[in-house]
């Protein structure tokens, strides 16, 4: 077992709002290998709080969670090496490009591994490999991160996490702010890493087109509770997403419009353009 939440709740206390519960009674299992999971929910639904638990960045107020066998509770346990947990579960924040700070890409990627008592040479080798894994060539190693494009910065910051070789990767909205082509490149990259290395990847996103096309497991948070855990298509069929302040994938919305305005009988649950087209052809032929 990679990560298991047992009845986890988390209370924030803030000066302005007092005490409030960000997540409540969460039970959830994430296998350490081969999972590719989307985590969705509107702003304030608790998804980022949930993600922060996954590498023990914050501790549950109630309940406990197991991360690679270590039991995390509200109380700090001196026997647990929290840094080891953070090495096993890599968390990439939203806008990770703000966290690039070294003068070369190479130094930036090396920063993480160097904290784990390895030689400079080894760290350099790892930096190069991680950079290649995110689809950037060696010429980037000596470049200044500030002069890279938004998409390139994102990739470098992801390479920085990969360099620490986590077992599980958790990414908070990695595709926001990218153009459509950049989005696909990055999603294909994650899928590729997932397939090649078997690493479990959890991605927070608002983009339901991506959820439908890339994932076979989706977690939905609403008002601090996990209200759905399963197949995306089943979610679109069963839940009223608008009620949960979420949206439907574009193919579903378009086909639904055709059904309603032309009185057709299209199966609206089509993931891709090609699938939508052949469904329309099928109905036209009838």
């Amino acid at each position: 077992m990679g990560i298991r939440f047992n009845q986890v709740s988390y209370d924030y206390s803030s000066f302005a709002q007092g005490l409030y519960t960000a997540i409540k009674d969460i039970n959830l299992e994430i296998t350490e290998k081969h999972e590719f999971i989307a985590l969705v929910g509107h702003t304030g639904s608790g998804k980022s709080t949930l993600a922060k638990h996954m590498n023990a960045l914050i501790f549950p107020s109630e309940g406990n969670l197991e991360i690679f066998g270590e039991v995390i509770t509200a109380k700090r346990n001196k026997k647990i090496k929290y840094n080891n947990i953070r090495k096993k579960v890599g968390l990439v924040f939203q806008f990770p490009e703000y966290q690039l700070f070294e003068e070369t890409v190479e130094k930036d990627i090396m920063f993480g591994p160097m904290n784990f008592k390895i030689t400079q040479e080894e760290a350099k080798k790892i930096a190069k490999e991680s950079l290649n894994l995110v689809g950037l060539n060696d010429s980037y190693l000596q470049r200044n991160p500030y002069n890279l494009s938004g998409g390139e910065k994102k990739r470098v910051s992801i390479a920085g996490i990969l360099a620490m070789d986590p077992e599980i990767l958790v990414l908070d909205e990695p595709t926001s702010g990218l153009d459509p082509a950049g989005k696909r490149v990055l999603m294909n990259l994650f899928k590729d890493i997932n397939e090649k290395t078997g690493k479990t990847i959890v991605i927070i996103t608002h983009d339901m087109d991506l959820v439908y096309q890339y994932f076979n497991r989706v977690l939905v948070m609403n008002e601090g509770r996990l209200i759905y855990d399963g197949d995306p298509e089943k979610l679109f069929r069963e839940k009223d997403l608008f009620k949960n302040h979420l949206d439907y994938p574009n193919t579903i919305k378009v086909l639904k419009y055709l059904n309603e305005t032309l009185n057709l009988n299209l199966n609206i649950y089509q993931k891709t353009l090609e699938a939508a087209l052949s469904e329309i052809e099928r109905v036209v032929k009838e």
């Binding site: 803030s14 702003t43 926001s176 153009d179 459509p180 353009l273």
Partner: protein, 267 residues
């Protein structure tokens, strides 16, 4: 003369490559323009030169007949406001009230007038109940609305949205879009930089930037019919038009194609 005129604008961050090259644009008062383009196409740089945050290497910008220069920048900035992608990057005040006041303070508006304006514009963006709250505790959509109130309070009538919806969840995004629609109705000139084609479809005209140049600038409905503009600029068409373009041209498909176009152009 158009309300906004950009003439042969060229900009570069270094000597080597131009981020903007010979950009010519005319925008009329009250128009809603969407700006599309791949990452690095020059969209945001264009926005920053329009508000005088960056100085052009060559070329001129006229706003309401006035040339943008070091001397006129102060006057012109009153007319034009910008809402950024990350709402956290644009707050200066301790409370929402302070934040809306900030621009007016710089214009030396008398206190009494300022206070009544704050109330008026906070109400307009539906944030009256939040005036004493810390901006940090607001949702992304609320933060963007506070930013808009600050701009309106300065009597600006041009607002640039620089990917202002890209960090919002679908619900807050929808809310902000609704709000932009009412601003448009009120006669404000809107320039909306976006990666979301569905959002761009709401505009009167679409400007496509490609490698620092204006690749196309046409009425929304006209430009959507020119598929090649999108492929050449590495942009995606909306799903409905992708389907419409791929359907056979037979009569049987005609009705469906028409509906798909109708769907794409619903405002």
């Amino acid at each position: 003369m158009s309300y906004i005129e950009v003439k042969d604008l060229t900009f570069s961050y270094n000597e080597k490559t131009n981020v903007l090259e010979a950009v010519n644009i005319n925008i009329e008062k009250g128009e809603w323009i969407a700006v599309l383009g791949h990452n690095g196409s020059g969209k945001s740089t264009l926005a920053k030169t329009l508000v005088g945050l960056l100085e052009p290497k060559e070329g001129e910008i006229f706003i309401d007949g006035q040339i943008l220069s070091e001397e006129s920048a102060y006057e012109i900035r009153k007319k034009i406001g910008i809402v950024f992608q990350n709402p956290d990057n644009q707050f200066v005040g301790v409370t929402v009230r302070d934040d809306i006041a900030f621009g007016m303070e710089n214009l030396c508006i008398p206190r009494e007038e300022m206070l009544s304006k704050i109330d008026f514009y906070a109400k307009k963006v539906n944030m009256l109940d939040f005036l004493d709250k810390e901006p940090a505790n607001l949702s992304g959509g609320q933060k963007q609305r506070v930013a808009i109130a600050g701009i309106l309070a300065m009597q600006s009538d041009i607002i640039i949205f620089d990917e202002a919806t890209s960090m919002l969840d679908p619900f807050s995004r929808e809310e902000l879009i609704k709000y932009i629609k009412t601003l448009h109705k009120d006669g404000l000139t809107i320039i909306m930089i976006t990666h979301d084609i569905n959002e761009a479809l709401l505009a009167d005209k679409i400007l496509v930037m490609n490698k620092g140049k204006v690749y196309a600038f046409e009425e929304t409905e006209t430009i959507m019919k020119k598929k090649e503009i999108f492929t050449d600029s590495h942009l995606e068409l909306p799903v409905s038009l992708d389907i419409a373009n791929s359907l056979e041209l037979s009569d049987k498909h005609k009705e469906i194609r028409e509906k798909l176009w109708e769907y794409a152009l619903i405002k």
